[in-house]
Symmetry: C2
Subunit: 336 residues, 2 copies
C-alpha cells in the first residue's frame, strides 16, 4: 500500500540511505557486491525512487514540455512521436500541454513552468499569439525553449520550420499552371508565422504569374468549425467564386470538401484544392488530395535534439541553430 522509499530499503539491507543512493547511481565508491545486493532487493521490493524528491534535490526535473495548440492533428501527433523518441533516449519525460489555440491558455501554461516543472520547452504557438512577453519571461528564467513549425520571429532561439514561403509559392504556382485564375487562400491567423509566410508565397506566385490578387479571396479561418463552414460557404457561393484554393491547415480539408459537395461544385473540375496536411488519408479522399506534407516526425526529432543539447551544455547557443527543413509537394487528384 505504502510506497516503499529509500529508507525502507536501507533498513532492509542494513545500509545507510547514502550508500543506497550511490549504489543506484553506480558510484565508484560502492563495491560491486553491495551494488548488486541493493539492485536486487530494490527489484524485489519494487522500489522506485520518488522523482519529485530527486527533482527537488537535484534542481532538474527530467521533464520537458511540448506546448502545442492541439493533439487531434496529424502534424502535431507525428511531431510528438519524434520528440518522444529522443526524450526517451535521454531518460526524460514529455509533458504534453495543449493550448487549444488560446493565448490565455498558452500564457497560463508557460507561467506554470516558472515554478521549475520542466527543464525545457518545445513549442508551437497558438493562432492567437502575437506577443512574446510570456515566452521571454520564461526564457529569462533560464528555461531553454525551441520553436517548431509555428514560431515567433522576434524571439531569439532555435526555430525548426519548413519552407513555408516556398511551399505557399509552389502550391499556388501549381494551381495557376493547372489553369486557375482566381485563387482563394484559407489562413488561420493574421499573426501566425506559418500562415503569413505561406500567404507571402501565395502572393508572390500570383504576382509572378500576373494572376489577379484580390484580398477578398483571403479568408482568415477561426477556431470554430461551425464558423469556418460558414466562411468557406460564403467564399464558394459568393459572386467571385475562386476556382482554386490553397489552405494552410489540415483541419480545413473536410469543410472545403463538404462545402463543395453541398454547393454542387466538383473538385477538381470546378475547384482545385491544395492543402498543407499530414493526413494519412489524403490519398484516399474523394478526390485524393494534393498536399504540402511536412516532415513532422523529423521536425520533432530535430527540435528535441537541439533542446537536449542546450540542456546538456549551458554554453550551447540555441539562437544559432535554426533549421528549415523542406516539405514535400504531393500532387494528387484534387488539382489535376
Amino acid at each position: 500500500m505504502k510506497n516503499i522509499n529509500i529508507k525502507d530499503l536501507a533498513r532492509e539491507l542494513n545500509l545507510s540511505v547514502g550508500t543506497i543512493s550511490k549504489a543506484f547511481h553506480d558510484s565508484y565508491e560502492i563495491s560491486e557486491d553491495t551494488k548488486n545486493r541493493v539492485l536486487e532487493t530494490a527489484r524485489r521490493l519494487n522500489y522506485v525512487p520518488n522523482p519529485y524528491a530527486s527533482s527537488l534535490r537535484g534542481r532538474r526535473s527530467k521533464n520537458i514540455a511540448v506546448v502545442i495548440p492541439e493533439v487531434a492533428d496529424s502534424f502535431f501527433s507525428l511531431a510528438i512521436n519524434g520528440i518522444e523518441s529522443v526524450a526517451k533516449e535521454k531518460g526524460y519525460h514529455v509533458l504534453i500541454c495543449l493550448t487549444h489555440e488560446s493565448f490565455e491558455n498558452e500564457k497560463t501554461i508557460l507561467q506554470e513552468f516558472q515554478g521549475g516543472r520542466v527543464d525545457g520547452v518545445l513549442m508551437s504557438v497558438s493562432r492567437e499569439t502575437s506577443e512574446s512577453a510570456h515566452i521571454l519571461n520564461l526564457m529569462g528564467n533560464g528555461v531553454p525553449l525551441v520553436f517548431f513549425d509555428r514560431v515567433l520571429d522576434e524571439i531569439d532561439t532555435a526555430k525548426i520550420t519548413t519552407d513555408d514561403f516556398e511551399s505557399g509559392y509552389k502550391a499556388t504556382e501549381h494551381l495557376i499552371q493547372q489553369g486557375c485564375d482566381n485563387i482563394g487562400f484559407l489562413g488561420i491567423s493574421e499573426c501566425l508565422s506559418i500562415s503569413n509566410r505561406r500567404l507571402e508565397g501565395y502572393q508572390k506566385a500570383l504576382n509572378d504569374y500576373h494572376v489577379r490578387y484580390d484580398s477578398q479571396q483571403i479568408i482568415n479561418c477561426t477556431n470554430d468549425a461551425v464558423q469556418n463552414d460558414i466562411l468557406i460557404r460564403e467564399l464558394l457561393q459568393g459572386p467571385n467564386r475562386p476556382n482554386g484554393i490553397v489552405a494552410t491547415v489540415e483541419k480545413l480539408t473536410t469543410p472545403v470538401y463538404r462545402a463543395s459537395e453541398a454547393l454542387g461544385l466538383n473538385i477538381p473540375a470546378d475547384l482545385k484544392f491544395v492543402c498543407f496536411s499530414n493526413l494519412e488519408t489524403a490519398s484516399i479522399l474523394n478526390p485524393s488530395l494534393t498536399t504540402i506534407t511536412q516532415p513532422a516526425f523529423e521536425m520533432g526529432k530535430i527540435a528535441a535534439t537541439l533542446l537536449f543539447k542546450s540542456l546538456e551544455k549551458n554554453d550551447f547557443n540555441l539562437s544559432k541553430e535554426s533549421q528549415v527543413v523542406p516539405s514535400r509537394f504531393i500532387m494528387r487528384g484534387s488539382t489535376i
Copy 2:
C-alpha cells in the same frame, strides 16, 4: 536559473515563509491585507511555487497519467481532449504516456509510476497486453486506475467501454443485409478485449444469418504497416476473396482502400467495408466510409471523472462504476 522561491518572497515582504504559504492557500489565519500584499508581490516577482516541493511534502503529485498505445489516432486524441477537460477543472496535470503497442513499454511506464509520479492512471492497454501483473502491482500500491476502451477483464476496476459486441454484430449484420456472403474480419490482437468482443459480435451475426464462417477470413493485423499491407493484399487476392470486411481500428482504413485500388476492386461493388473509426475524413473518402464511431471525448471525460472521484474519496469503489457507452453506426458509401 534564478527561480525565485518562497524564501525570497518572505525576505522581500518581511514575513515568514509559513505566512506566505498560508496566504497562498487562502488560509483563514491570514489577514486580507497580508494576503493581498503577498499575492501582489508574488505576481510582481513572478513567483510560482515549485510543484515538486509541494508534491514531496503533500505526497500527492496533482498529476494523472494517460497510458495509451498511440497518439496519432483520432479516437485517442479525442479521448485525451475529454480527459484534459476534466483534469483542468480539477487543477491536475495530464501526463500522456505512449506504449506504441508494446507490452514492454507498458510495463516500464507503469513501473515508473511506483515512485509516486502520478496520483492515478487512465489506461487503454497495448495490443500485446495479456498479463495483468504490472497493473495489479501498481493498483496494489494504492494508485487508482480506470480503463477506457481497451480493458483487461480480469482486473477489478472501472472500465469505460463501448458496446463492442453489439457494434461488431451490427456492422456484420449490415454487410449481410447488403448482400455480402463472405465477410472478412481484421482484428489487431488475439488478446485485446475490444478486438475479441467485436469479433464475437461478428461471429454471432454470421451465425444468426447462417452465413458461412471461415476462420481463414479472420486476420490478425500487426503493428507494422508494411506487414499489414501484405496481409490485406493476401486476403484480397486469395482464392476465397471476401466481399465484405469489418475492420476494428481506424488505421486499417488506408491500407484496405489502397489494396482494393491496387487490385482493381471497387468499393462497394466488389468489396463492402465497415471500420471502427473516429476519422473526421470518413465522410469525404472515396467512397465515404461506413463507420462505427465511438464517443471518444465523452469516454475520456467519464473515465477521468471517475478517477477523480476515487482520488477525492478513498472509499469510492471504482469496481462498481464500469460503464458501457453506445457507439454510433454511420452508414456511408463504402457499404451501399
